[in-house]
């Protein structure tokens, strides 16, 4: 008799559906008085270290129509490149920065906005540094398994990033790089399907 592994299988994903707001951002959808504020609505305070930036964007379907019912979560390092996480062992991250944000798209336009700081660089497992980036997770009606992607910055040197340089179809890399709107604002549109389809990862 061999040693049994006794592994379980991950619970299968199901779509977040059109009413994800009720559970995840109830104040946004008018359900007030249950939670004091929506989790992830604020990532920074006036003591947060680093360069303040706004990251905005819209999620589009394969017909070019904006998704008005998507929810986006982001996770990023602080300005020094440290994650505000118990498993961050390289140092202590800025306690005035959560690193995690959650926003729903506007009902009318589908646009979402994060007020955050520009992340520092974080190493790849082999020790090489990755270019500064923000991790994204996108859920919505019609998305059966949450989509993972990354946003890179147009004003950083992305040429030696270990993830970007590993991508076979280099002509798709620009789908991961935000547009600079002004000195402190970046636009990162996500295209779920078709021309300019954003690269989604399986990590």
């Amino acid at each position: 008799m061999m040693i049994p592994l006794n592994r379980r299988r991950e619970s299968p994903s199901q779509t977040a559906g059109p009413y994800v707001h009720i559970g995840c951002v109830p104040n946004f959808c008018g359900i007030e008085g249950v939670y004091p504020h929506d989790l992830g609505d604020t990532m920074v305070n006036d003591q947060t270290k680093g360069e303040r930036i706004t990251v905005t964007g819209t999620t589009f379907d394969g017909t070019g129509t904006p998704l008005k019912d998507a929810m986006v979560e982001i996770w990023q390092a602080d300005a020094a490149g440290l994650y505000n996480s118990p498993s961050e062992i390289r140092g202590t991250a800025d306690t005035n920065f959560t690193g995690w944000g959650r926003k729903a798209g506007d009902y009318a336009t589908g646009e979402w906005n994060f007020e955050t700081v520009k992340p520092g660089a974080v190493p790849f497992p082999d020790g090489r540094m990755q270019a500064p980036h923000i991790s994204f997770w996108i859920v919505a009606r019609g998305i059966n398994l949450g989509l993972q992607t990354r946003m890179y910055f147009p004003d950083e040197d992305n040429s030696t990033d270990p993830v970007l340089t590993r991508i076979e179809h280099q002509n798709r890399v620009p789908t991961l790089v935000a547009e600079q709107v002004d000195a402190s604002t970046y636009r990162f549109n996500i295209r779920l399907q078709g021309e300019g389809e954003t690269i989604f990862f399986d990590f």
Binding site: R8, R9, E10, S11, P12, S13, Q14, T15, A16, G17, P18, Y19, V20, H21, I22, G23, C24, G30, I31, V34, Y35, P36, L39, G62, T65, W75, A77, S85, P86, S87, E88, I89, T92, T98, W100, V122, P125, D126, Q130, S135, W137, V139, A140, R141, G142, I143, N144, G146, L147, Q148, R150, L192, Q193, E197, T198, I199, F200, F201, D202, F203
Partner: protein
């Protein structure tokens, strides 16, 4: 910090076990499914770390949907139930400190939402959201009313079985999961195009909560058990040790 430890990488996600992106019987997926293959990449700190949600964010009624939106102190209308279970990982270990957020329709199958169009009425005392953070063993529980089934615009006469939506945040960003819980014995589970996106009957059955009559509160509330499994982690200290160091 004494409680800090390096996070092992997550086991590979079995994408054949999850629903595929394109599931034409669920029409909205057709234009919202990526047409290119997901790009596989090694996990980095960006994927294996995640935020912590302390128990201090919780209010006393956060896990009590029967009362947490009550306008006048009376209970929400519907069959009273308690849902409990554990959040575990693929190694079978409880995941402590996981944020479990739930949302659901009311007993008539109507959501409190601007985009809701079903004829069934709102319950003025039911909001439909709740949350809980798992205990040291991964355990959680919340109290609610059993949601109703409802029709939805897909094919001309599609109905959702009664269900509760779950969002689970474990300890790493690449572990993020949203799923739905169904109720044991509901024949509508097997007629739903969204349930049907899960490729195997075995997989669907893991989303069906079991009635736990022994745990039921006499003259008060029935109890359903629902366990959730998140991606497991490799636990070797050798994973990121570089050769020659």
């Amino acid at each position: 910090m004494s409680n800090r430890k390096p996070a092992g990488g997550f086991f590979m996600r079995d994408t054949a076990w999850h629903p595929p992106a394109l599931t034409p019987q669920y029409k909205t997926s057709v234009a919202r499914s990526p047409s290119r293959a997901l790009l596989s990449m090694p996990q980095t700190m960006s994927e294996v770390t995640g935020p912590v949600f302390g128990h201090n964010i919780l209010g006393d009624l956060d896990n009590d949907l029967i009362l947490n939106y009550s306008q006048d102190g009376t209970s929400a209308i519907g069959p009273r139930i308690i849902v409990y279970g554990r959040v575990v990982d693929e190694n079978g270990r409880g995941v402590p400190g996981a944020l479990v957020e739930v949302w659901q329709a009311n007993a008539g199958g109507h959501y409190r939402h601007a985009k809701e169009g079903y004829i069934a009425p709102l319950d003025p005392n039911f909001g439909g959201c709740g949350r809980v953070i798992t205990d040291d063993d991964g355990g959680y529980e919340f109290r609610t009313i059993q949601p109703g089934p409802y029709p939805w615009p897909n094919r001309v006469n599609d109905w959702r079985p009664a269900h509760i939506h779950f969002s689970i945040f474990g300890d790493g960003f690449a572990q993020r999961l949203i799923t739905q819980m169904y109720f044991e014995g509901d024949p509508m589970i097997w007629q739903c195009p969204i349930v049907d996106t899960v490729p195997s009957r075995e997989g669907i059955e893991t989303l069906v909560a079991t009635l736990d009559m022994a745990a039921t509160l006499p003259m008060d509330a029935r109890v359903y058990k629902f366990d959730i499994v998140l991606r497991g982690r490799r636990a070797t200290i050798f994973e990121n040790r570089m050769e020659g160091t």
